[in-house]
């Protein structure tokens, strides 16, 4: 059975998930993971499904009248995340294009894996919080130094701290 990645974006309204899921079910595709977000009024869903034919599914989902639909065959990957977050990076400052690119480039070059990334924009204030997995060989102080350098280039504030390890 093929593994498919399905993503769909539509102007937010009731019924988008129902429409997508009904068509998946009709093609015998089983949803094995999903993530939904409403981004500036656009509903976005990304799913991994097992089974169903890529081309048939693509054609069927296209009739839903959404803004974008994509169905791609993907190789099977580990069901567990590649790494658990060990630190949190907070970024905030005056909004401009390139903040995400500059900050995540520093992370990527340090082999730091992004586990989650959320952003908010309120007027000119841009806020981004990134959960990251820092490789064992990289000291937090060193990553902090590199992040401070990019913060000053971008004119934003970046704080790096250890992820809360509270487990109850």
């Amino acid at each position: 059975m093929p593994t498919l990645a399905v993503s769909a974006v539509g102007l937010d309204r009731p019924g988008i998930i129902a429409g997508v899921a009904e068509r998946l079910a009709a093609h015998g595709a089983n949803i094995t993971d999903s993530r939904v977000a409403i981004l500036r009024g656009h509903f976005a869903i990304t799913l991994i499904v097992e089974g169903g034919g890529r081309a048939e599914l693509d054609a069927d989902l296209a009739t839903l009248g959404l803004e974008a639909v994509m169905v791609t065959e993907v190789p099977e990957a580990a069901s567990h995340p590649r790494s658990e977050p060990t630190a949190v990076v907070s970024v905030h400052g005056a909004d401009h294009p390139g903040i995400v690119a500059a900050v995540t480039r520093v992370l990527a070059d340090a082999d730091v894996n992004v586990c989650d990334l959320q952003t908010r924009l309120a007027r000119q204030l841009y806020v981004m919080i990134i959960d990251v997995a820092v490789p064992p060989g990289l000291a937090l102080e060193e990553l902090d130094r590199r992040l401070r350098a990019v913060a000053s280039e971008q004119g934003v504030t970046i704080t790096l701290r250890q992820a809360d390890a509270d487990v109850l």
Binding site: H92, Q124, L125, T157, D164
Partner: protein, 159 residues
């Protein structure tokens, strides 16, 4: 003596470490901080950088606040330092300089504070307010302390 305009984030003064100040230097700032805090009504504390003064002065007043029954009343904090802290609790905070959001922030529940002419213990909501204001003096905002935008940061309706 004046109600001052509150600096909104993003603003460079809000992320700078403020300078220590002597009592004479602090006096006019204290007046303006008190006037500005009172003018907002719902405000329980304000720090000098928020009115454009990069000095280590803040005022806090949680009197009458339902979450702070044991508050000390008006506190004038010049060069304040937290010398002891214990306990840990998540609570909701807002900030005059970040009007778009409120957030859940983890803070110590009991603190001992030293400032010019003062040494006192504080707990609960008042202790939270004091920690929030002292963070301002170090150029830190609650946005530096939240774990998740989705779970801990909430858009705020404009008042």
């Amino acid at each position: 003596m004046a109600v001052r305009e509150v600096v909104l984030h993003p603003h460079p003064l809000l992320t700078l470490c403020a300078a220590r100040v002597d009592r004479e230097g602090a006096a006019p700032v204290v007046e303006d901080l008190l006037d500005t805090m009172r003018w907002f009504g719902h405000c329980v504390g304000i720090a000098a950088p928020q009115i454009g003064e990069p000095v280590r002065v803040a005022v806090v007043d949680c009197s009458g606040h339902p979450k702070a029954p044991d508050a000390h009343g008006e506190l004038i904090l010049v060069n304040p330092v937290i010398v002891e802290a214990s306990g840990s609790e998540v609570g909701r905070e807002g900030c005059l300089s970040i009007p778009a959001f409120t957030a859940n922030v983890r803070r110590a529940t009991h603190i001992t504070v030293e400032a010019e002419g003062l040494r006192f213990d504080s707990s609960g909501f008042e202790a939270r307010a004091i920690q929030h204001e002292i963070d301002h003096l170090d150029g830190l905002l609650f946005l530096d302390k939240v774990d998740s935008l989705e779970a801990d940061v909430f858009p705020r309706r404009s008042r």
